[in-house]
Symmetry: C2
Subunit: 257 residues, 2 copies
Amino acid sequence: MKIVFIGSGNVATHLSTALKSSGHTVAQVYSRTLAHARELAGKMGTVAIDDLQQIDRLADLYIFSVKDDALSGLIARMPETEGLWVHTSGALSMELFAARRRAYGIFYPLQTFSKQREVDFREIPLFIEGSSYDVTDRLSQLGREISDRIYCLPEEKRRYLHVAAVFACNFVNHLYTLASDILEKADIPFEVLQPLIAETAAKVMEMSPWKAQTGPAVRCDEKVMRKHIEWLNDPLMKNIYSLLSENIRRHSERQQR
Amino acid sequence: MKIVFIGSGNVATHLSTALKSSGHTVAQVYSRTLAHARELAGKMGTVAIDDLQQIDRLADLYIFSVKDDALSGLIARMPETEGLWVHTSGALSMELFAARRRAYGIFYPLQTFSKQREVDFREIPLFIEGSSYDVTDRLSQLGREISDRIYCLPEEKRRYLHVAAVFACNFVNHLYTLASDILEKADIPFEVLQPLIAETAAKVMEMSPWKAQTGPAVRCDEKVMRKHIEWLNDPLMKNIYSLLSENIRRHSERQQR
């Protein structure tokens, strides 16, 4: 397939690398910032553009991989082309394409991508949706070339997936940040927490998270929790502590019923 | 060393296994529930007791590894013995021993232990505190036999460590649970989140967590956040979503200054 990337961020970088490795051709990389387009186009051995009018009209697939709030504007300004248009956003509907296209879809890899970290794309769950049976089928075939975990998921389910990912990734990472802040105040290096973080994640590869729950809140150890809240200086951190502890307690009561 | 374990839970199980592997003798395991004491004593090839009066008076080391709220009661009822008394709690002071003993300390392994999961004890950070220079030294020596990561940490710092661990482990695991709940409602298997969870944890082995932050809150993507909150049914989950997102935003503004 001849593929054009609209966007050159983390998702575009990892997805284009995987598709190129599977023998597909990345024909162009567009970004409104030419330097960004060039960075990815250089890796792909292809052309960087920052003007939508220069888009190759004859590609098989156009992958829109841009910030969510930029997507509908880009779709509106995109010139007419051949081929299939898809986007990689978990939160947005494929119907954003409906006013412009007959054949469109979603190609959403569920992972937290950073340019500086390599990932094994075959392990990444890839969620597909197509405007027709035929489109879904073509996207699934393409997906299977780069990942072993292809799921066809309609929008009304994908939205829950996306919220769940915010909890399991973005919010989890923020708790790592808060833990790091707390340690910093006591001059303790963050590395002391790394084995704990690794094991906490490793556990839920084997058991359900509610079975893996440990700590003062699930033990209803009020004394320790009161001390912890007292030791936290920041009011927002105190709030987060109370709210999550309360929710853990409530959850564990529900499980015991 | 001849060691007696007061308690037979997850920490006692993993710690006694590591100490026995290093050539020490576990002389007895006490639990108020004899079946629990027997389970661990069986693994150690040693004696199980459920009566503190049967405690061997001539051990070198007594390791109290029980629930935080049970500790002071046990210390009060413990008979006079030879040797050193220590506990394994991150949240409690070693001064709980002061009324009973001259030589005492802390031997706190920072990890989330489950009986059914093996862990490499050499990787586990072990935090030591002693009632005297000599005690600290003896505990550090013992610690180095089972772990490569020994830290001497006074109580006023250990408490921050303990709160940080609650954020990085217990609260993180609860977010996994909430993510799992959200997926369950959409009939999506939890396993689709596992690569994301593994990568989120793996990232902070290499970069600081605030640099690893991704997602709608750090991008200030208000549209997506409003939708997410709308899609969550549970008021407590809505609260958690808002509070963590607000804190991520606040944190990222602080970093940019």
